[in-house]
């Protein structure tokens, strides 16, 4: 028996024969393998293989992916970069689910396949003795092969050949080690020539190209200057005579002629109290909320002159043309529109207009509240009921 012998191999023509053969071989030998062009059903049990453990790997990798996703997102959204988005809580699990799922699948798939190839198969291995043999070429096409390794304890080349022949093998051959692989370790190491000049140069040039590209990507394409332009952007500086925003030195443009900004509708009855009284109709509804609003606004804007109850007895009394009481016959007979007009436009250059401070709705609310004040001092008969 030659020292070079790796295994004895037999080729079969049908799947039934190979199943029979592997059952027979499995009874006598431990170190053998079956090679078929595609997975043959029932071969695992014929060879006495235990079921694959790769499922556990998939589980472990999947859970790792899930944990990475969840912890990264939690850390970013709650600690590193907490931003309120759409009113959602920082830690919003439902919104994390899609990415968690994707990363679970991603890591599980990559991890399982890599561990299959590198851990379970111990591939890449292109120097396995069966490569480039006739045996290999047949089993990767249309034959079913089985071989018993010379290292097996019960191995005897002649006996194995006899067994294969009795099982009806179409072809029986010996597989030898490649000459090179048998030599001493040192020579194997020389065989690969790691410190060969060409290899080192090749490696170095790869390093230079890759790192150069990475540097370029990160620094040129990917780089955004930090946001320091608030300092340098064109803007209006207080006290500075001219701004460089526009050619004419003004910092802002006038609105386009004829346009009206939201909430700045011009007042139609400026200086025309009678017309206002005639045409303006109180649109607001008298509700507790509306009156409460009116009271707040009245207390803020009117009470300093007219007093909290509109009697004209405010804290400003005497320092200013005394404001009249709002309970006079005249004031009580004003229509709502007139009071609205006075609030909007002022009266006689003594009382100023309040349209800048009070929105239209606010003003009507104040009108309603003035009515309440007036009613409270001059209640009618039926109010007492």
């Amino acid at each position: 028996m030659s020292k070079n012998l790796f295994a004895v191999a037999g080729l079969f023509n049908t799947p039934d024969e190979i199943i029979k053969a592997s059952k027979a071989v499995n009874k006598q030998y431990k170190k053998f393998d079956v090679n078929t062009p595609y997975p043959v059903h029932g071969m695992d049990s014929a060879m006495g293989l235990k079921s694959s453990k790769l499922g556990y790997f998939a589980l472990a990798f999947g859970l790792t992916g899930m944990l990475i996703a969840l912890s990264l997102m939690t850390w970013v959204t709650t600690k590193e970069y907490p931003l309120v988005i759409g009113g959602k809580p920082f830690f919003s699990l439902p919104a994390f689910i899609p990415i968690t799922f994707e990363l679970t699948v991603l890591l599980a798939s990559i991890g399982t396949v890599l561990s299959m190839i590198f851990i379970f198969f111990k591939l890449p291995n292109n120097s396995h003795p069966i490569h480039d043999t006739n045996y290999m070429k047949s089993v990767s096409n249309d034959k079913y092969g089985i071989y018993v390794l010379a290292e097996d304890d019960n191995f005897d080349a002649e006996k194995v050949k006899a067994l294969f022949a009795s099982l009806g093998a179409a072809d029986i051959s010996e597989i030898l080690y490649n000459e090179d692989d048998l030599e001493e370790d040192v020579q194997v190491y020389q065989h690969f020539k790691i410190f060969d000049k060409k290899f080192v140069v090749g490696l170095l040039s790869i390093v230079v190209v890759v790192s150069g590209l990475a540097y370029y990507m990160l620094n040129k394409l990917f780089y955004m200057a930090p946001y320091n332009w608030m300092m340098t952007q064109s803007k209006v500086i207080p006290q500075a005579p001219v701004s460089d925003n526009f050619a004419d030195g003004f910092p802002m443009r006038n609105p386009v002629e004829g346009t009206v900004a939201k909430g700045f509708m011009p007042y139609e009855y400026k200086g025309k109290p009678e017309e206002a009284e005639k045409n303006l109709i109180n649109p607001s509804e008298v509700t507790p909320e509306n009156l409460a609003l009116g009271k707040i606004k009245f207390d803020i804007y009117c009470s300093p002159c007219h007093g909290y109850f509109g009697k004209g007895d405010s804290r400003l009394n005497g320092q200013f043309p005394n404001p009249p009481s709002l309970h006079s016959e005249k004031a009580r007979n004003f229509k709502d529109g007139r009071i609205f007009h006075i609030i909007t436009d002022g009266q006689n250059n003594v009382m100023p207009g309040y349209y800048k401070q009070l929105s239209r709705d606010d003003r009507w609310a104040v009108v309603n509240y003035v009515r309440v004040l007036q009613r409270s001092l001059n209640a009618k008969e039926e109010d007492l009921k």
């Binding site: 049908t14 393998d33 029932g42 790769l54 970013v76 994707e102 699948v105 290999m136």
Partner: protein, 456 residues
């Protein structure tokens, strides 16, 4: 005709020997391409060139060259993205879901469909990347520490999309590659050319067809199919979230995820069927990609097309039934507004044309199914156009309503995407086995031991 239903019919016609299968599938890689191939390639490369030219213009002058403008901020770019992503879904459905259902007829078409998945996802992935306007900053889509201390928004559907599409691309690639390993080994052992041998040796990792490996290999294939199945459903679901999570009428609906997935499978099958009709003829593989297989694909198109039609109807019903005037307006506007032409193209192609597959004669007629599948793809492209553009062109503020018109550049980029996709497909057919050699061998009559199969 009498049929014996006690036996499972083989999905492969005749009883080819294993060597014939190896030979027939490897031939395209061992012969020089013929004239027709070069003509086809030059056409697709021209399209690709036009697309590349338009893209370069876009990079130089910016996306102002496109038709998008307020309020239609998403248009051809996103339409194309959703369209191509959808095309990819057929591949994963065939390779993963049908695998879990033990559908043997998938073996003949799985490899090619998976390849189309990968190319379609590559094409699709291009669009969001260019849509951002400054594609060189796309790296910021992935969360990474940077000098601004900026992080992505993990609660945005657009970011979910980044993860979904990149995971989908990676897992499809792995799945495809795992399937290719034994075939590369077979090719390695066949070839006489040293350079090819080196390439195949590297690509096959030195695979030995060992049964101790097959055992784990089959397990991993099962696991990957198990992962890819929910994954493929999640991808188009998340793509539909891009719309459904917003508040725009016509987008904000819960029916979107299932409806998008069905539509994706629908259009994907149409595209795969179209391409396979050529492949089986040109490479003389009619006995592996049989008429029965094509008929089964047509049945799936009939099913998914009907689901899509149901979804269109249901959207209309809900628009009325919800009592929401904005929804109702949007849908009436789709069917009868400015874009009614697009809507009715979509309806005719997607809802009416596949219904013809109810007739067995039509379902088995190759020229007929080819035309219907083309209709389906046109229709599915218009579906995305209708959804995206009609909703945006009529947003909440009537003063900003506008009519979107694509520009020449938009058209050029769309053409370029077809160029890219079909160039890759053409190169694939000559570079790698278009059918899984190992898988097909396993389903040929007589390839499995009799004492387990039970028949004969």
């Amino acid at each position: 005709m009498d049929k014996d239903y006690s036996k499972e019919l083989s999905v492969i016609e005749g009883k080819p020997s294993l060597a014939t299968i190896t030979h027939d599938i490897s031939v395209p890689m061992e012969t020089m391409p013929n004239k027709a191939f070069y003509i086809a390639l030059s056409v697709t490369l021209t399209f690709l060139g036009i697309g590349a030219f338009c893209l370069i213009l876009t990079f130089i002058y910016g996306i102002g060259l496109w038709g998008n403008n307020n309020p239609v901020g998403w248009a051809f770019d996103i339409v194309n993205f959703v369209f191509w992503i959808g095309i990819g879904h057929a591949g994963t459905l065939i390779s993963a879901i049908l695998f879990l259902f033990r559908q043997k007829w998938r073996t003949g078409i799985a490899r090619f469909a998976e390849a189309m998945t990968i190319f379609a996802v590559m094409t699709a992935g291009l669009f969001p990347l260019i849509h951002v306007g400054r594609p060189w900053l796309d790296g910021y889509l992935l969360p990474h520490p940077n000098q601004h201390g900026l992080w992505v928004n993990f609660t945005s559907p657009l970011l979910w999309d980044v993860f979904a599409v990149s995971t989908y691309a990676t897992v499809s690639l792995i799945f495809w590659y795992v399937g290719l390993i034994p075939d590369f080994a077979t090719l390695r052992d066949r070839t006489t050319n040293n350079i090819k041998k080196l390439i195949y040796s590297v690509l096959s990792f030195g695979w030995r067809h060992s049964n101790r490996h097959w055992q784990h290999y089959e397990m991993v294939y099962l696991i990957l199919a198990g992962f890819a199945t929910p994954l493929v459903l999640s991808v188009h679901t998340i793509v539909s979230f891009d719309f459904a999570v917003s508040i725009l009428p016509g987008w904000h609906t819960t029916i979107f995820p299932p409806y998008f997935v069905a539509g994706a499978v629908f259009s994907g099958f149409a595209m795969v069927q179209n391409a396979l009709i050529f492949i089986r003829k040109v490479f003389k593989l009619e006995y592996i990609i049989t008429l029965d297989t094509l008929e089964k694909m047509n049945k799936i198109m009939l099913l998914t097309g009907t689901i899509v039609g149901y979804a269109y109807g249901m959207e209309f019903f809900i628009a009325w039934y919800s009592g929401n005037p904005l929804e109702l307006f949007t849908f009436v506007n789709r069917a009868f507004g400015d874009y009614a032409w697009a809507y009715w193209i979509m309806m005719t192609c997607n809802v009416f044309s596949p219904q013809l597959f109810w007739f067995k004669k039509l379902r088995r007629s190759i020229p007929f199914m080819f035309v219907v599948a083309i209709f389906v793809n046109v229709g599915m492209w218009f579906e995305r156009f209708v959804i995206i553009v009609t909703s945006l062109s009529r947003d909440f503020l009537p003063s900003s309503w506008a009519y979107y018109k694509p520009t020449l550049i938009d058209g050029g980029i769309l053409l370029g995407s077809f160029g890219l996709f079909f160039t890759l497909v053409l190169l694939f057919t000559k570079a790698m086995p278009v059918i899984s050699i190992a898988e097909v061998k396993a389903v040929v009559d007589g390839s499995q031991p009799t004492h387990h199969g039970g028949h004969e």
